[in-house]
């Protein structure tokens, strides 16, 4: 139970939970409450700060995911087709997250400094759409990961 392999796997799973959980909380819990409870100037002030903080958390979680993922591949000792598909999806997720926080998030941050505007609302809508796409792909990656360890062609089982 207390091996380096388990520790790396634990950190890997925690990073997924943090990245996915943070995005889902922001999209489905925080954003609707902000719309209901705050007037537009206050809402923009709060949401622009959240975009930054969440961006740092999600991008750092993705970094932890990649590093621990590399170690997981080393521990497993093989690369299957399923794992190759997963790696391609990981690159796609990193690209979309960078676009979401580094591009849309930065534009929201800059434009919203002057207060609410139609441009900011438009960017926020795009930000949410990209976030939902990232979340969906991450869920697909989680499903593929289950296939890698528990499915009929599980690479771990074949090595044993």
């Amino acid at each position: 139970m207390l091996s380096l392999r388990f520790l790396v796997l634990f950190i890997h799973i925690v990073a997924v939970i943090v990245a996915l959980g943070g995005s889902l909380f922001s999209t489905f819990a925080l954003a609707p409450v902000l719309i209901d409870e705050l007037d537009p100037p206050a809402r923009v002030r709060v949401s622009r700060r959240i975009v930054r903080r969440l961006g740092a958390i999600v991008l750092t979680s993705l970094a932890v995911l990649v590093v621990t993922g590399v170690f997981n591949v080393l521990f497993v000792g093989g690369v299957s087709i399923l794992l190759a598909i997963k790696l391609v999806l990981v690159v796609l997720v990193i690209s979309l997250a960078l676009y979401q926080y580094g591009n849309l998030g930065t534009q929201i941050w800059r434009l919203s400094a002057a207060g609410p505007s139609p441009d900011v609302a438009d960017l926020q809508a795009r930000f949410r759409r990209v976030g939902l796409t990232v979340g969906s792909i991450v869920l697909l990656i989680v499903y593929l990961s289950i296939g890698l360890t528990r499915g009929p062609g599980a690479i771990v089982a074949s090595i044993r």
């Binding site: 622009r48 590093v67 590399v70 690209s95 960078l98 580094g102 591009n103 930065t106």
Partner: protein
């Protein structure tokens, strides 16, 4: 960045071809001691150059996705510096992963021997294997480069003071 990527691509190409073709013999013929050095180091240079190429491509892809000149430039420089420091470790790990199921496959070897006869077929097989190995290293290093850039973006994003946002906006927009 363009020059660094070009140098990494050139080194990967030259040393992969050299390893695949056994070109150290030609270098030994011209300069025996340099040829011996070339032969003993070409494989390590293939691994390092391919990993560097993958990371640089990853950083450049990441940079294309980010808005804002100052944030992009600072993040790229930081990612390249950290990537350079981590290069020996990244090259070693990605090379190890690239060696999993490291073979061009019996069927490909057989096909090459069938079509080009034994000597040429085996020669082409070694060249193909070396090329696939380099490409696999670069492919595995690409997400590492992207993520280094992403972490740099996250750090520089959060260190920008919230109160100075309006000033930063006008200054950076003017620069762009």
């Amino acid at each position: 960045m363009g020059w660094l990527t070009f140098v990494a691509l050139l080194l990967t190409g030259i040393f992969t071809l050299s390893y695949g073709l056994g070109a150290h013999i030609a270098v030994r013929y011209l300069n025996p001691s340099f040829g011996a050095w070339w032969n003993s180091n070409e494989f390590a240079i293939v691994e390092c150059a391919a990993a560097a190429l993958g990371m640089l491509i990853g950083i450049r892809i990441g940079a294309r996705l980010v808005h804002g000149g100052a944030l992009k430039n600072r993040s790229m420089v930081a990612a390249v510096v950290v990537g350079g420091l981590l290069l020996p470790i990244v090259a070693r790990i990605t090379a190890e992963i690239a060696r999993f199921k490291f073979t061009s496959g019996g069927s490909v070897t057989a096909w090459l021997i069938d079509h080009f006869r034994y000597d040429t077929g085996m020669f082409l097989d070694k060249l193909l294997t070396a090329s696939v190995y380099s490409m696999k290293i670069a492919a595995f290093a690409l997400p590492v480069g992207m993520i280094l850039f992403a972490v740099a973006v996250a750090i520089f994003m959060t260190t920008e003071p919230a109160g100075d946002a309006a000033d930063a906006t006008s200054t950076e927009t003017a620069k762009e």
